[in-house]
Chain length 225, copies 2
């Protein structure tokens, strides 16, 4: 049974947000997707997100917010900053773009409200949160209240992956019938390699370990005949 | 006694934020100002804010965020929308730019954090809030928590005008020694007329009524000699 209203998915073209796109299609009558050009080095993310939306038959929009990439120092938008391989003890890794999810979701809310949409879907999760403070449940809930107060509206931010680990996210993709699409057509790699990625950056490592864990379970479920 | 740390003022060059700039100078050891080009029709606001900062000897920065003006329909950034003269019964007037203070303060927070500044000052107030939901105290407090969670930081948003009416804001400017500067050099008018303004738009009306009320009190304080 689908919710009769529309939902807007914040889509990056990576594993998590693409899984959320198909989750939204399974839960809402109409789904829209929104992505951002914010100075990320791998701007092909946007073309990938668009191609996924064509495949999913979902209306797609991309907005330019170059400010997000230049406001705070980070290694995702500044190629002169060497990427942290692991999380430093005293804070998030330098792949953290300060305020990114705050801006993405705030812009998404205004964009959605103009179209009469109040259900927002994001792929953030705190199980594998890598030290990013703006992936935590408490941040998303606080932002939800702030958005409602800012515009005197009733937004509902949905976070289907909040408490799932990467293996469970792969399981969800499989249940939604998009395991292969997500495995081969999404871009999670910090080095910009589509699908299984470079295999070495922190994002690839997390994705691959989850995939291997899920595949062990999946194969175990197949009866020996 | 000044607070030893720095503060960042969100400055538009209008009466309220300019009063806050001088309030901040009276309370913090160092003050910075930040303004935005967001597609407002009266972009001379930015030059006015810069001139005020020169006068106040405060470092000034301006950031381009054109998206804010185009995301949501409103009469401040779209000259094809006729301006509401009064607040409609069913919502804020169309001078409301959806998400504006949310974006201004969020951007200010990231900008400030990069410079080791965690005290933010804004001129919003709910006494004369004109139906703008993002001028209310509850919104600012909620956003303060959201910003802290988004960046794992301890921001403090200061709102010196939150509970003052316009007459009390004029009184504050006078106590701070900048009554004449604020009367003649700031831009509050929706039609872009500096100082006392066009006299007819809702912003001018509010400003003038406050000024007249304050001047009656001020003159009454002068002993008859």
């Amino acid at each position: 049974m689908l919710e009769p209203q529309s939902a807007l998915v914040v889509l990056s073209g990576g594993q998590d947000s693409t899984t959320c796109l198909f989750w939204a299609k399974a839960h809402f009558a109409r789904v829209h997707a929104l992505t951002f050009r914010y100075g990320q080095q791998h701007v092909q993310e946007v073309a990938i997100a668009e191609a996924i939306c064509r495949e999913a038959d979902v209306p797609f929009a991309a907005l330019d917010v170059p400010l997000i990439g230049t406001l705070g120092s980070n290694s995702l938008t500044d190629s002169t900053v060497a990427m942290d391989a692991t999380k430093p003890a005293d804070g998030p890794p330098n792949t953290f773009v300060p305020g990114r999810n705050l801006f993405f979701l705030s812009i998404a809310a205004v964009f959605a409200r103009e179209r009469g949409i109040f259900d927002l879907v994001t792929g953030v999760g705190q199980t594998d949160f890598s030290g990013y403070p703006d992936c935590r449940d408490t941040f998303v809930r606080s932002l939800n209240v702030t958005l409602n107060l800012a515009m005197d509206a009733q937004f509902r931010i949905h976070t289907p992956l909040m408490w799932l680990d990467k293996a469970e996210t792969w399981a969800m993709a499989d249940r939604l019938g998009v395991f292969d699409l997500i495995r081969h057509c999404t871009l999670t790699c910090y080095r910009g390699v589509v699908g299984d990625g470079c295999g070495e950056c922190p994002a690839c490592k997390l994705r691959r370990e989850g995939l291997e864990k899920y595949l062990r379970t999946r194969n175990a479920d197949v009866p020996n005949t």
